[in-house]
C-alpha cells in the first residue's frame, strides 16, 4: 500500500515536471502569512514595488554572512534606490528566542530595508530555502527571476547587475 502511494506521488510529480515548459517558467511568490515589525499580519503574495523589481533576502540575527551581506548592501542601498528604484525586503527567520532582537538590531545597525518576521520558517519552507542567506530577485510582474545562496564579499554587485538587466528588459540566465 505504502509503495503504491509513493509511486502515485512520484509519477504525479514527474508528469507535472515534464509537462512544464522547460524554459522561462518563473514562479510566483507563495501566499504565506508573516508579520511586520509592529505585529501586523502580511501576506507574502502581496509583496510588490510599484511594478519595479525587488529583492527578498532570508536572514537571521545569528547568521554571520547575512549580517555581512546586509552591511555591504546598506552601504550602497541609497545609491541603488536612487538609480533603479529597487527595494529590499529582509525576511528574518529568527525564532522566538531571537525574534525580539531583530528590531533593535536593524535599527542599531542603521539598516534601511523593510523587515518582516517569519518566526516558524513557514515562508522559508515555501521558498525552499536551505540555510540563510538566500536571496531572491523578483521582477515587476511578481515573478521570481533569479536566486542565489550564501554570501561572499562582493556578491551584492551581482544583485544590482541583475536588477539593471531586468529594468533594461534583458534576458536573465
Amino acid at each position: 500500500m505504502k509503495s503504491i502511494v509513493l509511486v502515485v506521488a512520484l509519477v504525479f510529480i514527474v508528469s507535472i515536471g515534464l509537462g512544464q515548459e522547460s524554459e522561462k517558467n518563473y514562479g510566483k511568490l507563495p501566499s504565506i502569512i508573516v508579520k511586520s515589525m509592529d505585529g501586523k499580519p502580511f501576506n507574502t503574495a502581496d509583496f510588490s514595488n510599484d511594478g519595479k523589481p525587488f529583492i527578498i533576502t532570508f536572514w537571521a540575527t545569528w547568521c554571520k554572512p547575512c549580517i555581512k551581506e546586509h552591511d555591504a548592501i546598506n552601504d550602497v542601498y541609497g545609491d541603488w534606490v536612487d538609480e533603479t528604484g529597487v527595494k529590499m525586503f529582509a525576511v528574518s527567520i529568527d525564532n522566538a528566542r531571537s525574534s525580539k532582537r531583530v528590531l533593535p538590531t536593524i535599527n542599531g545597525k542603521g539598516w534601511e530595508f523593510d523587515i518582516l518576521l517569519d518566526e516558524n520558517s513557514d515562508f522559508k519552507r515555501a521558498m525552499n530555502v536551505n540555510v540563510p542567506p538566500h536571496t531572491f530577485i523578483v521582477n515587476g510582474e511578481g515573478l521570481i527571476v533569479w536566486q542565489h545562496v550564501g554570501y561572499l564579499d562582493g556578491d551584492e554587485e551581482e544583485y544590482i547587475e541583475i536588477i539593471e538587466k531586468i529594468i533594461a528588459g534583458e534576458e536573465i540566465e
Partner: protein, 603 residues
C-alpha cells in the same frame, strides 16, 4: 512479482492521466530543495578514534529532498529523508530512508486546510511549536489536520489535531499521545474602527493545547515477601500493596499574550500554564507548570536596546509521558534559551541550553552605531554591541519537611513565581566592535566572558560543583583586494581559569571552578572569489589542555563552489567534540576525523 506488475500497470495508467490533466493543472509549479551531507571517517590515534570505536561505520550520510507543487490556492509537498548510516552524533534510530513529511493544503477566501504533516507555532511557542532543524536532526512535525480561518481582517484563528513524529516509527494506537490545539491572534488596529491609524499597534492572542494519552489501568500489585529493616529489627509484611499512580489522561495548557508597538518601543509578554503532568522528565510529580516570557525594546536609527526576562517551571510538555533524554523527541512546546547565539566558533564552545523544568533568565543588549562621517565614527560608521545574559535556578521549597524535593507521586515542591534560585546556570557578557576603515578594510573585535555550569547544562546534575569560566577574544579582519577577491582572517583565543575569585561577588562564593579543556587558540584564513569560490584553512589548537596528550590541533581545510542556488563544499579535518545548538536545543557532536562533503541545492 505480482506486486511489481501491478505497480508498473499503475504507472502506465497514471502517467498519461496526470499528463493530460496538465490542461487544468496549467500554471502549476514544482519547486524543491535538497541537501546531502556525507562523511568519510578515518582512524585517528590522537583522538582515540579507531574502527571499533566507530562501530566500523566508516561512512555516514544524511540527506533530504523536498518537493513542492503549487497551483493557485493548492499546495502539496513531501520530504524524502535518508540516513545511511546516520552521521556521527545523530541518533542511530534515524537509520533508514523514507518520507516522514508530506502534506496537501488548500486555501479559499477565509479558510485554509492542511492535511498531512505540518509545522505550527502558537505565540512564541511556550505551549505549542512544531518545527524542524536539519543540522540538529530535530523534527517534531504534527501529522493530522490543521485549519486556519481569517474571518475578518486582523483575526487569525487556528485549530489542529495530530500526532507527532518519533524517528521512523509509524503511529500505533496508544504508543504516543494525541495533540489538540486552538489559537487566536487579534491585531486590534485592523479590528476596532477608529484606531487603524493610531501609533499604538496592539496585538492580543491566546491559545489552548491539550494532550490525550491513555493511562495505565489503575490497580495495585501485591507483594507478600516484602520486609524492611528498621533499627536492626526486621519487619515482615504479609501483604503489601503497591498502588499505581492515577495519571491524568488529558493534560491541558493555556497561554495568553500581548504585543504593543509604539514608535520605537515594543513590548511583548506571554504567560502560560500547564496542568499537572507527571512524566519522566519531572520524576512523575503532580505539579502544574508555569512560564513567563517578556521583552521590552526601544530603538531608533543607530541605537537599539532590549531587555528580556523569562521564568519557567515544570514546563516540559511532551506527547508521551515516558519520553525523556536526548535527542529531544515528541516535544509539544518550545522554550527558547535566553542567551545570545554567538557567531564565532570558540564563543560557542560553552553554549547554554534551556532547562525546561526550572529556569530564571534575563538578557539585555545595547547596539549603537556611531554615525558615519563623524570624527569618532569614521567615514563608514562604527558599531558597538554590548550583551549580558544570565540564567539561574528557580526557588524550590519542600512541600513538607519529611518529603524530599521532587518526590515521585507528590506535588514535588513549591515554587515562588518569578523567583531566582541560588544555582547559577549561565552567565555571558560580551562586547563587540565593528568598523569599516575604508573601502578595502573591515575590522571586528569581540570579547566574551562566560560562566558555564557544566553539571547542570550537560548532565542534569543540579549543583555548583563544576563550572567553567572562560574568557574569549576574537579579531576578525576582512581585506578586499578587488571587487571580487577578498581575504578574511579570524584570530580567536579562549582561556579558562580554575580560580574564579573575581566572579564570586556576582555569582556566589561557593562555586567550584575547573579548567575543563583548558586554553585554546584558533586561526582561520578564508579566501573568497565572488560569486563562486571560497577556500579556507582553519586550526583550533587546544594548547592548554590539562591532559598533555589532548593538546590537539583541530585543523580543517575546505573549499566550496556556489553557482546560484547550487553549493558544493568539501572539507577535510578534525571535528572537535562539543554541543551544537540552534535556538537553545543542542545536539552532542563527538570528535571525528575525515572528509565531509555537503551539497545543497534548490530549484
Amino acid at each position: 512479482m505480482k506486486n511489481s506488475i501491478k505497480l508498473f500497470g499503475l504507472i502506465f495508467i497514471l502517467f498519461p492521466l496526470f499528463s493530460f490533466s496538465q490542461n487544468f493543472l496549467s500554471g502549476g509549479k514544482v519547486t524543491g530543495n535538497t541537501q546531502i551531507d556525507a562523511q568519510l571517517y578515518t582512524e585517528d590515534n590522537k583522538l582515540g578514534i579507531t574502527d571499533s570505536s566507530m562501530n566500523y561505520k566508516k561512512f555516514g550520510m544524511n540527506g533530504f529532498a523536498n518537493i513542492r507543487y503549487s497551483n493557485g490556492n493548492f499546495n502539496a509537498g513531501m520530504r524524502f529523508e535518508g540516513y545511511l548510516n546516520p552521521m556521527n552524533g545523530f541518533d542511530p534510530r534515524y537509520e533508514g530512508v523514507g518520507v516522514p513529511y508530506w502534506f496537501a493544503s488548500y486555501k479559499l477566501e477565509f479558510l485554509e486546510v492542511t492535511a498531512g504533516h505540518f509545522y505550527e507555532q502558537f505565540g512564541s511557542g511556550l505551549i505549542l511549536r512544531s518545527w524542524e532543524e536539519w543540522t540538529l536532526g530535530f523534527d517534531n512535525n504534527i501529522y493530522g489536520l490543521n485549519v486556519k480561518i481569517t474571518p475578518y481582517k486582523g483575526i487569525t484563528l487556528k485549530g489542529l489535531v495530530g500526532i507527532q513524529r518519533y524517528f521512523w516509527e509509524p503511529y500505533k494506537i496508544d504508543d504516543r499521545g494525541i495533540v489538540r490545539g486552538l489559537d487566536g491572534d487579534f491585531y486590534l488596529n485592523d479590528i476596532i474602527p477608529g484606531i487603524e491609524e493610531s501609533k499604538m499597534k496592539i496585538t492580543l492572542g491566546g491559545s489552548f493545547v491539550s494532550r490525550y494519552e491513555k493511562a495505565i489501568a489503575k490497580g495495585f500489585t501485591r507483594d507478600s515477601t516484602y520486609y524492611e529493616v528498621i533499627n536492626d529489627d526486621t519487619i515482615n509484611y504479609l501483604n503489601r500493596k503497591t498502588y499505581e499512580y492515577d495519571l491524568p489522561v488529558n493534560v491541558g495548557a493555556w497561554a495568553g499574550r500581548m504585543n504593543l508597538a509604539w514608535g520605537g518601543f515594543n513590548f511583548y509578554a506571554e504567560y502560560a500554564e500547564k496542568g499537572n503532568d507527571p512524566n519522566a522528565t519531572n520524576n512523575f510529580i503532580y505539579k502544574k507548570g508555569q512560564a513567563l516570557y517578556s521583552t521590552i525594546s526601544y530603538s531608533t536609527k543607530g541605537f537599539g536596546v532590549f531587555l528580556s526576562a523569562k521564568w519557567i517551571d515544570n514546563m516540559h510538555y511532551k506527547s508521551k509521558r515516558t519520553e525523556a533524554g536526548n535527542p529531544p523527541m515528541l516535544d509539544i512546546n518550545y522554550l527558547p534559551a535566553i542567551s545570545k547565539e554567538h557567531q564565532y566558533s570558540l564563543a560557542t564552545m560553552y553554549p547554554y541550553a534551556t532547562k525546561p523544568n526550572g529556569e530564571f533568565g534575563i538578557q539585555g543588549e545595547i547596539i549603537y552605531t556611531i554615525p558615519k562621517k563623524s570624527k569618532v565614527g569614521g567615514k563608514y560608521g562604527t558599531t558597538l554591541t554590548l550583551n549580558y545574559s544570565l540564567a539561574n535556578s528557580i526557588k524550590k521549597e519542600q512541600i513538607s519537611p519529611d518529603v524530599p524535593l521532587d518526590s515521585t507521586g507528590t506535588d514535588g515542591y513549591k515554587a515562588t513565581f518569578f523567583s531566582m534560585g541560588d544555582i547559577p546556570y549561565y552567565r555571558d557578557f560580551s562586547f563587540k566592535f565593528e568598523r569599516k576603515i575604508n573601502k578595502k578594510i573591515k575590522i571586528k573585535a569581540a570579547y566574551y566572558r562566560q560562566l558555564y555550569n557544566l553539571h547542570v547544562i550537560e548532565d542534569d546534575i543540579f549543583d555548583k560543583d563544576f563550572y567553567v569560566l572562560a574568557n574569549i577574544g576574537v579579531i576578525d579582519f576582512t581585506y578586499k583586494f578587488s571587487r571580487k577577491h577578498s581575504l578574511r582572517a579570524e584570530v580567536q583565543g579562549l582561556w579558562t581559569k580554575d580560580d574564579g575569585s573575581d566572579v564570586f561577588a556576582i555569582a556566589g562564593k561557593d562555586l567550584k571552578i575547573k579548567k575543563e579543556d583548558g586554553d585554546w587558540v584558533a586561526l582561520l584564513l578564508e579566501y573568497n572569489i565572488s560569486p563562486h569560490w571560497f577556500f579556507s584553512v582553519q586550526d583550533e589548537y587546544n594548547y592548554g589542555n590539562p591532559a598533555n596528550d589532548m593538546q590537539v590541533h583541530y585543523y580543517n581545510v575546505s573549499f566550496g563552489f556556489t553557482q546560484k542556488t547550487n553549493r558544493i563544499s568539501l572539507r577535510y579535518g578534525r571535528q572537535r567534540e562539543g554541543l551544537l545548538c540552534v535556538g537553545g536545543v543542542c545536539r552532542y557532536v563527538p570528535a571525528s576525523t575525515g572528509l565531509t562533503l555537503t551539497i545543497t541545492s534548490s530549484f
